[in-house]
């Protein structure tokens, strides 16, 4: 039984605009440049015969001369003294930590080239996020400083800096004024120790922590409700029912990757096979990654979130608090009442989270969670998360202190308050009043440029250190490369400036572990360096009962709500790719499409289609966004289906001005829209929009490829699945007999295939970055993405579809092919235009399908792409002459053409166009030249390496020996790779699932990648 849902990639496709229809006819969106040449100058002017002969003669002469040159001399320069552990050509792996998560760093000849999750780091850290994957590029960033800076002197020595800083510190100490260390949250026990030691040496010191995207609301609320000022540990794996109010917990909220693994554990193919699937409701304004994955997503205005929570609380507890009404959102009202019932049924197995940073709202959420018995089950307050401990109020007070002239010295560590706080200007003005301003930034960023001293810090890949993401979980940071530039670790600088007895930070970390941490789990330092992470027996999660009165918090919530309801409600949110903007110069992240809008290299203002129509804006119109505080930015409009009416969303993390070549002035800074009230930063505000009459096309990858309305997404509800596991997959009835035009390939040895679980994929995009890093895929820049020339070998297609009550299977029926092609007619689509608010989303990773009857192979005139005996479609770059026939003939549109030498072309000077950054390239993969096609190779270098290891060890290849880069990065384990010839392999088992279908199987190209149907645990009665 097929779903007869209509899917579309973008509004253009949905509405079938004339532009889209026109573009759709062409394989390449842009007309080929050669045509321009021929049309304008080339064909209209007469080329004189003499000129032609001259050019010919010169050309021939030049070629002859060039050919006369003897073969280039290649030098081979060995080490003078080879480090014992380095064998050229063989990677070494070191454990380290990124952002609190334990990672495994792959190094080749002493340089880190790939980051992956540390396999020792526990059940729920199986993958990495896009930021961790991309972080290796930050090490090779040419925009970094090469040495410390003292008052604009970039050649200052460390000795001079030490002398200056110590002198100023002594002055500050003598004057009795305050010294402040400002940082983002420090979870490292050793760094904390260093700061404490520093404070001991200079007793006026205080450590102020703030986070660009703050969780102070949760911390304060927990302090208020349970006396524990912490971000608790959430356990989405223990929740059968998840209700989220604007928390993007699968992407940016607290610990997205970990939550993804936990969340997916109850929804993936294994869980479904066991007949279990959690249910997830999302109430939110902007369309978030989490929203796209929800079983039921209800658009709710920002001003309605408070009343919605009150309604939920009232319905669950039977209380009768004021303000529990949603007069303008009947859908949400109905949904919440149903959710309340379900929450009560799932007591102890449910979880309610809110993305709000308002203390009152979070207290209310605590009350709800207490009422449904979440504490001790899905929420653990006794082993809290230590990644966020920032205090907005303390930071605000710090600015006041500076303004009052009480502060004599400021040290800024891992933070960029000149950019990422609500009022960066106020901070800058206040900072000017401080005598000693020291930044530990690695570049002259927005904050460091305001400082006297830039004591350039190591990159984390050059550092010693540690981290503690959760109570009792300790991980190590160890260097994987010698410091590239004349940098010094920030902690070491602090140790030196405070005249600590131990001045070497490695020794400090070592001492700290020997004394305080190693005894917790009785391990040696060597074991720590090998394993990377240790968990010292978790305390049992206690059950907490919320027993306070809500009388005080309700009015605050309602007031907030009222003040938001005035104008257009603006939500500023953490961008899924750029996060808070700290990796602002990372080209991999800049070109990572937003999981929902598929926009690269920019932020934008997202507005719902109907609301945009009402305001009179079209897509890509530039509008002026003016906040109540007067801050105005011009941003292009993005029409976002699913956005709540009357709201707009703008991503944070963009608009950096001093981050480096690639990231400067990409998008606009939205931090000034953040406001500070009631002790916390607020990410909801009101704005006014005015048109500017200008227009700028966003660099989107979304509508670049059309699928002609074919049935490539297959979906079923959980209820249907339980009745019939093959529901929606097209496997539950006889298929047409197919005839092959070509003889079958023999695959006697291995047959490499993949299975992708659409129910697990959340669309986060970390696979895209992992693939970029592993396969030397170039970043092409905004202009080229607009021309639809992005190079990603794997993309995640995002399809919208309607949620129409009772429509799912009522009409249309399915065609005889069982493919559903005829299921939806054009007339019907238009009738649904009104429902653009209420869309659901499916993410589908799309990469080369390694078809057995590959259409690309048959059209290549030079046999540059051919089939292998292990089921792969090979691409020989050195054979390719660039006809691009293959791309034209590929039904999946996964082939990419190199229009330029992106690694050696001054027009693409944002990334690889320098020898230093080229060190990030994987030496086992060719860097492709201009004029050749490329595509997913199924990480053939990994397959070959895996086979070689087995050969050398004289053993058969085992399932799991070889992992794809995308598979390794995927926290959700949505990608399963392996040998289909081995019936016991993970992938063979997965491919035997009833949910498996092949995209475009009706054209009989026999793809090698099976997809599992998307299953939604919806309840039709809740829908609009």
């Amino acid at each position: 039984m097929e779903s007869n849902k209509k899917y579309w990639k973008g509004l253009e496709e949905y509405k079938n605009t004339p532009d889209f229809v026109e573009n759709n006819k062409n394989e390449f969106a842009e007309p080929l440049p050669i045509e321009d040449v021929l049309n304008e100058a080339g064909l209209s002017t007469v080329t004189p015969r003499r000129d032609f002969l001259k050019a010919l003669g010169f050309g021939l002469g030049a070629v002859t001369l060039a050919a006369c040159q003897t073969a280039p001399v290649h030098k081979s320069i060995p080490y003078v003294i080879r480090p014992e552990e380095v064998v050229p050509g063989i990677p070494n792996y070191y454990v380290s930590s990124f952002n609190g998560q334990s990672v495994l760093v792959k190094t080749r000849e002493g340089r880190p080239i790939k980051i992956d999750a540390n396999p020792n780091s526990g059940v729920f850290n199986t993958g990495t996020d896009a930021q961790a994957q991309a972080s290796v590029l930050d090490l090779y960033d040419v925009s970094k400083l090469h040495g410390p800076v003292l008052k604009d002197d970039e050649k200052a020595s460390w000795a001079k800096i030490d002398e200056f800083v110590k002198g100023e510190l002594n002055k500050a100490q003598a004057s009795g004024k305050k010294i402040r260390v400002v940082s983002s949250t420090v979870s490292s026990p050793s760094t904390k120790g260093v700061i404490a030691d520093f404070a001991a040496a200079y007793p006026n010191t205080k450590h102020v922590q703030y986070d660009a995207v703050s969780y102070t609301g949760i911390i304060k609320a927990n302090e208020n409700s349970f006396g524990k000022a912490v971000v608790p540990q959430y356990r989405f794996d223990k929740a059968d029912l998840i209700v989220s109010f604007g928390a993007d917990f699968l992407s940016t909220w607290i610990s997205g990757e970990e939550f993804t693994s936990q969340y997916v554990a109850n929804r993936n193919h294994k869980s479904l096979k066991a007949g279990k699937m959690s249910r997830h409701f999302q109430f939110e304004a902007g369309m978030s990654v989490t929203g796209t994955n929800a079983d039921t997503r209800v658009p709710v205005k920002l001003s309605e979130e408070g009343p919605a929570l009150i309604t939920l609380y009232n319905t669950i507890t039977g209380n009768n608090l004021a303000g529990a009404s949603l007069p303008n959102n009947v859908t949400a009202d109905k949904a919440i009442k149903l959710v309340a019932k379900e929450l009560l049924q799932n007591k102890g197995k449910a979880l309610v989270v809110s993305g709000s940073n308002d203390v009152s709202t979070q207290i209310l959420v605590n009350a709800i969670n207490s009422a449904i018995g979440s504490y001790g089950t899905t929420i653990d307050l006794d082993n809290p998360c230590k990644r966020y401990a920032g205090n907005d109020a303390e930071f605000a007070e710090f600015i006041n202190e500076m303004n009052r002239g009480e502060v004599a010295a400021v040290f800024i560590l891992n933070a960029n308050p000149g950019y990422d706080v609500a009022n960066a200007k106020a901070f800058a003005d206040a900072l000017a009043k401080v005598a000693l301003k020291v930044s530990f930034a690695d570049r002259k960023d927005e904050t460091a440029s305001l400082c006297d001293v830039i004591a350039v810090n190591h990159n984390y890949l050059e550092s010693w250190g540690d981290a503690s993401a959760y109570e009792g979980v300790y991980s190590i940071v160890q260097p994987t490369i010698n410091p590239v530039f004349n940098t010094r670790q920030a902690e070491e600088s602090l140790l030196i400036w405070s005249d600590n007895a131990v001045k070497d930070y490695y020794q400090y970390v070592r001492n700290n572990w020997d004394k305080n941490i190693l005894p917790l789990f009785g391990k040696t330092w060597k074991e720590v360096l090998q394993t990377g992470v240790f968990i010292a027996g978790a305390k049992p999660a206690g059950a907490y009962n919320f027993s306070l009165s809500l009388a005080a918090v309700i009015p605050t919530i309602l007031n907030n709500s009222k003040s938001l309801a005035k104008d257009i409600e603006l939500q500023v949110y953490e961008s899924a790719s750029m996060r808070d903007g700290r990796h602002g110069n990372n080209a991999f992240l800049l070109e990572l499409p937003d999981p929902v809008s598929k926009v690269t290299w920019d932020n934008y203002i997202a507005i719902a289609p109907k609301f945009a129509e009402k305001l009179g804006y079209k897509e890509f119109d530039i509008v002026s966004v003016k906040a109540a505080n007067g801050y105005t930015i011009d941003l292009p409009v993005l029409i976002q289906p699913g956005q709540a009416q009357g709201t707009a969303s703008i991503a944070l993390g963009f608009g950096r001005t001093m981050t480096g070549k690639a990231g400067n002035n990409v998008g606009k800074n939205a931090y000034p829209f953040v406001s500070f009230s009631n002790g916390t930063s607020k990410y909801a505000t009101t704005v006014q929009l005015t048109g500017t009459g200008r227009r700028e096309e966003l660099a989107q990858t979304q509508t670049h490829h059309s699928f002609e309305g074919r049935n490539i997404i297959r979906e079923a509800t959980f209820t249907e699945y339980k009745k019939n596991p093959a529901a929606g997959s097209g496997n539950d009835h006889a298929k047409h007999k197919t005839y092959d035009l070509w003889p079958a390939y023999e695959k006697p040895g291995n047959n490499w295939v993949m299975a992708i679980d659409l129910n697990a994929c959340t669309g986060c995009g970390s696979c895209i970055v992992a693939c970029n890093v592993e396969n030397n895929i170039p970043v092409v820049g905004k202009e080229e993405v607009r021309k639809r020339r992005e190079m990603h070998w794997i993309r995640i297609d995002r399809y919208y579809s309607f949620n129409v009550e009772g429509d799912a299977h009522a009409e249309g029926g399915h065609d005889a092919h069982g493919t559903g092609i005829n299921a939806v007619t054009k007339e019907k689509e238009i009738a649904h235009l009104d429902n653009l608010d209420n869309v659901s989303v499916v993410h589908q990773p799309m990469l080369c399908q390694h078809c057995d009857h590959a259409p690309c192979e048959t059209v290549c005139p030079v046999l540059a792409t051919v089939h292998s005996s292990d089921g792969l479609n090979h691409m020989a770059y050195n054979r390719c002459v660039g006809t691009r026939y293959c791309a034209n003939n590929c039904p999946y549109k996964v082939r990419r053409f190199n229009w330029f030498n992106y690694w050696n072309d001054s027009r693409f000077d944002n990334y690889l166009n320098n020898e230093f950054t080229q060190l990030v390239l994987n030496p086992d993969v060719t860097a492709r030249s201009r004029g050749v096609m490329e595509k997913c190779s199924m990480c053939i270098q990994r397959i070959q390496a895996g086979k070689l290891t087995a050969k050398i060890e004289k053993r058969p290849l085992k399932d799991g020996d070889i992992k794809m880069a995308c598979q390794q990065a995927c926290s959700a384990n949505a990608i399963i790779f392996g040998d289909a010839n081995d019936p016991e392999s993970e992938v063979s088992k997965a491919l035997r699932s009833e949910r498996i279908y092949y995209v475009l199987e009706e054209i009989n190209v026999q793809p090698g990648i099976g997809y599992m149907t998307k299953i939604r645990n919806t309840d039709t009665t809740v829908q609009a």
């Binding site: 060995p78 064998v87 050195n878």
Partner: protein, 431 residues
Amino acid sequence: MRDISLIIRRVWKSAFMFTALSVLIVSATQAQDVVEGRKIFKDKCSSCHQLDRNSTGPALTAKMNELDEAFTIKWVRNWKALVDAGDKQAIEAAKFSPSEMTTFPTLTDDQIKNVIAYAKAGEPKKEGDAAATTATADTGVSDFSIAGIVAIILISIAVLVVLGRAIKMLERLILQKRGVVLTEEDNVSLVVGVRRLFKNKKFVFFFILCLVVSLGSFGWMGMWNTGVHTGYQPVQPIKFSHELHAGTNQIDCQYCHSGAFKSKNASIPSVNVCMNCHKSVQATEKYNGEISPEIQKIYTAIGYDPATLTYDKSKEKPVEWIRVHNLPDFAYFNHSQHVVVGEEAIRKQKGLQPNEPVCFACHGPVNTMEEVYQFSPLTMKWCINCHKDAEISGKDNAFYTKVIEAHEKIKKGEKITPALLGGLECGKCHY
């Protein structure tokens, strides 16, 4: 191509043999075999003698020109006897160095004469040297056969000229007999002669044919060998002799190229590996007590001061070797795959002796290379030919046992080659 060259060779051989023989008679004075002499020299003399300069023993070229051959033969065979017999010249010669020269009683007169000839002639030019050692490898048409083509053309022209003259003479005789009066053109100018020659259709045809054949074959050869660097022998920054290290001293390849058995790179040894021996081995005996200048280069690279036996890290300067074997970046080659996994198959395929390291299969007789040159063409054709022919036994490798089980063709008795297991597919080497 090969067919043409074979035909040419065959024709050429008979024609050239004649000229070669006559040349041989003329140059009978050079009858001593320099190549043979060189071999003996390298084998027995070179550890103490150099041709052009004094080392442990005197510079041989100068000495041989100075000495009488008969004396030299006696001296080499047993110089001690000469000295004991009170030969003045011998006593004088023995004073050259305190270290005693080895005696070689087993060498025949001819052998010693060969060495003398070699010493007098000096080291042959590099290219000839390389060609001599690679003569066994089929590298298409060699310089030798190109010379043959030229010789054929020249001989043909000569024959034509002679025949032409003879015919003319005969015609004239016939005409004279018939009583036709011929105006003698005594002073035919060269220009007229050449012009007349070019009016001769047979000559023109033959000339053009030769031109087309020679240009064609030169062009073909040129294009065929573009980018093929067989015999490439760059001058290295240190005159490191594989012949001495791998040949004479029998040092295992892996001692220095330790990566070959683990990694894709065989890797060039770092300087500290050299220091393992060269901290004490300084070849001072060859340099009048001074440290060999080549070994001194090692010390300079690692910042070692042999006088004080100390290292100075700040003076370290890596040696910039010139890469001899260059594969293009888009071709992936892994040493360990070939020398560990494929060792047996490669040995069998290339017919290596049990005492020869598997490396010789592609790198040639490194133990005889004074300076390393590229032995194999390293072309894709060369790779593929081996992948097609080499037989994998896979007997004691469980990886292959499993793979072989799966192959139907193998069960039918087909030979297991890398090609059969997919070793010819583009993506196996190009990614």
